[in-house]
């Protein structure tokens, strides 16, 4: 048989090599992380293609480890008291602790927005609630230099890392340069954060048909979610990553997307957040307006505030909000809880070693 196959290949050599090429590429990309490749980025089968520019920053095990060390190291803050992990906690899918509706930085200064979870960042085209940052590498500069977060300058951090007993060696190992520079530091942090792929929920296993069933209530919730929520919280990442005003009320204190687009019609719009791990990421909304998912449901049902930029989906035929009965709310919440990835919360790769 192999003989016959190779004969055929000889005859149509071109087509064969072509198809094997295509095959090789797709099969590699679609693989679910095999256990030996713990430090390789793998796209979950039900996810879209990643957006991150891996060509300029390929992930290596050493790079991931270096990024992880940096992520947990308060050396990145001005007074050595705050690390990324202060506001992005693994057990909350790397969102902030519940008691911190607004992130707290050095000197306990308070920020103005709720820290979002860090997960599936490779699939996102823009970052922050207003999408002001267009590449994952640039995100940490904000945290480091923000006077309400880490209150440090990038140049100062680089100086400290260069003077550190271990870091120069580690950077040499990963990037071939003993001199620590900011692009290498940012790339290392990205390597760690890119690996924070969360796609192992009960919902995912149900989707992939690997023996998971949803309860009746959860299935009803999924159906309702598709009807009432999925036009914004779309697809397998549960966001279309557009910017919308979902009626929580607009304020000049935080104009949201319009500060980035310089377009008045974007006033009060914020990124549609992914709802993966949503049961872990309370409080909710950019301004931490709601403490529980029940409150969020009540908001969509009868709390939607009208304003000039309110999303038209939430003002259908002049009626504010989306009508949801009490039973339906329970079902939707039951469904949202199937989006919790317990393996992700406990994954030892993401812990401070």
């Amino acid at each position: 048989m192999p003989y016959g196959l190779s004969r055929a290949c000889l005859a149509i050599g071109l087509a064969c090599s072509l198809s094997s090429l295509v095959f090789a590429c797709t099969s590699e990309k679609e693989a679910i992380a095999p256990s030996k490749a713990l430090f390789e980025f793998a796209k979950p089968t039900n996810f879209p293609e990643p957006i991150y520019t891996f060509e300029s920053n390929p992930i290596t095990e050493e790079g991931f480890r270096l990024g992880r060390k940096l992520f947990f190291d308060p050396i990145l803050s001005s007074d050595g008291s705050v690390s990324c992990n202060n506001c992005h906690i693994q057990s909350n899918a790397f969102a902030d602790a519940q008691q911190h509706p607004f992130s707290v930085g050095v000197d306990n200064r308070i920020g103005k927005r709720n820290a979002p979870p860090l997960m599936n960042l490779a699939f996102m085209k823009e970052f922050f609630w207003d999408g002001g940052v267009t590449h994952l590498d640039f995100v940490p500069i904000n945290a480091i230099e923000s006077d309400v977060e880490m209150n440090e300058t990038l140049a100062e951090v680089i100086k400290k890392l260069n003077a550190h007993p271990e870091y120069p060696m580690l950077f040499e190992e990963v990037f071939g340069s003993e001199e620590v520079t900011s692009p290498f530091m940012l790339q290392a942090l990205s390597q760690f954060m890119l690996m924070l792929v969360s796609a192992d929920t009960r919902y995912d296993r149900f989707q992939r048909g690997v023996g998971e069933e949803l309860s009746t209530e959860e299935s009803i919730g999924l159906q309702l979610f598709k009807e009432k929520c999925a036009n914004c919280h779309q697809g397998e990442l549960f966001s279309d990553f557009s910017y919308r005003n979902n009626g929580i009320g607009t304020t000049d204190k935080d104009p949201g997307r319009s500060a980035i687009t310089d377009t008045e019609s974007d006033f009060g719009k914020f990124r549609v957040p992914s709802l993966r791990n949503v049961a872990l990421t309370a409080p909710y909304m950019h301004n931490a307006k709601f403490a529980t998912l029940e409150e969020v449901m009540d908001h969509y049902d009868r709390g939607v505030v009208d304003s000039p930029t309110l999303d038209p989906i939430l003002k259908n035929e002049g009626i504010l909000g989306i009508s949801i009965s009490e039973d339906e709310k329970k079902s939707i919440i039951a469904f949202l809880r199937t989006l919790t990835d317990h393996a992700f919360r406990l994954d030892s790769r993401f812990q401070n070693p």
Binding site: S56, G132, T134, H135, F138, T181, P183, Q187, I260, D262
Partner: protein, 288 residues
């Protein structure tokens, strides 16, 4: 489909390559030379001289009669291109990467750094040239790969906005008695009383959907300056193009009033300044 295309390209390339061999086309070693571009900063007729931050001595006066001094002045130049009357073309190599040595074609021209005001273009094919084109600011190509080094590294003095990520393409800072800026001591940084800061950035160019307004403010400008005469580049001749940048033209043509324009830190606020930049870069003369 992508792979098929790739294959076709590969086939075509090898086909062309074979062809060339068969025809035995002699490879002409094109001669090259260099060309120097000099940026010379002025305030009207006066040479630009920076003052110490916090200085209350005002050397310059604008058309509105407002006195001012300058403490910082500079911009990014990239994508330099030379063209000649007979189709001569030189495009400066553009590249980004995390290592400083991988960053090519981006220049951070600063009044405070005399060396930065001279850009030597090397490997320019011999021939006549009569104009130079360059980009003022850093466009999408400098942003799309993420963190990069060299003159684009914010830890090494690159001008970068964090909150609305992008490079600041042009900066003019100074002080004027007309500026109502109050002193701010930010612990680590200080904003002086009566100072002004004009930061021009914004690079996103997005075509609007039908019926929608055009979003984002793109302040990256492409400038083309004609030479006063054809200049010849050859291995022996290293000509120079002398460009004057007149800060006063920016202020006067932009009708900048320091009593209202003293803290420009967003793309939309920088737009009126960005619109004046092309008129402030003047090709003064060339040396053969």
């Amino acid at each position: 489909m992508k792979y098929l295309n790739l294959l076709m390209v590969a086939l075509t390339i090898s086909f062309i390559a074979c062809n060339e061999e068969e025809n035995d086309v002699p490879i002409v070693a094109t001669e090259t030379g260099s060309l120097k571009v000099q940026f010379d900063h002025r305030v009207g007729k006066a040479e630009m001289k920076l003052s110490e931050e916090g200085s209350t001595t005002y050397a310059y006066t604008d058309a509105k009669g407002q006195q001012f001094n300058l403490t910082r002045f500079g911009y990014y130049v990239s994508k330099i291109k030379l063209e000649g009357p007979n189709g001569e073309l030189y495009e400066d190599e553009m590249k980004v990467g995390a290592s400083a040595e991988d960053v090519k074609g981006y220049y951070h021209v600063l009044e405070s750094d005399a060396a930065s005001q001279f850009i030597t273009l090397k490997g320019v094919p011999s021939g006549k040239y009569n104009k130079v084109t360059f980009t003022l600011g850093v466009d999408e190509d400098g942003m799309k790969d993420g963190a990069v080094g060299g003159v684009l590294d914010p830890a090494e003095g690159a001008w970068f906005w964090n909150w609305n990520a992008g490079y600041i393409g042009f900066i003019m800072e100074g002080a004027s008695p007309d500026s109502p800026q109050e002193e701010v001591d930010g612990g680590g940084f200080k904003i002086y009383a009566n100072s002004f800061a004009i930061h021009v950035g914004g690079w996103k160019e997005v075509e609007p959907l039908e019926g929608q307004p055009k979003k984002f403010t793109n302040n990256v400008k492409v400038l083309t300056l004609d030479f006063d005469a054809d200049i010849t580049v050859s291995p022996k001749l290293g000509p120079k193009a002398h460009i004057i940048v007149d800060a006063l033209k920016i202020l006067d043509r932009g009708e900048v009033d320091f009593s209202t324009t003293y803290a420009v830190h967003s793309p939309v606020l920088g737009k009126p300044i960005a619109e004046q930049l092309s008129g402030a870069f003047i090709l003064d003369h060339t040396h053969q």
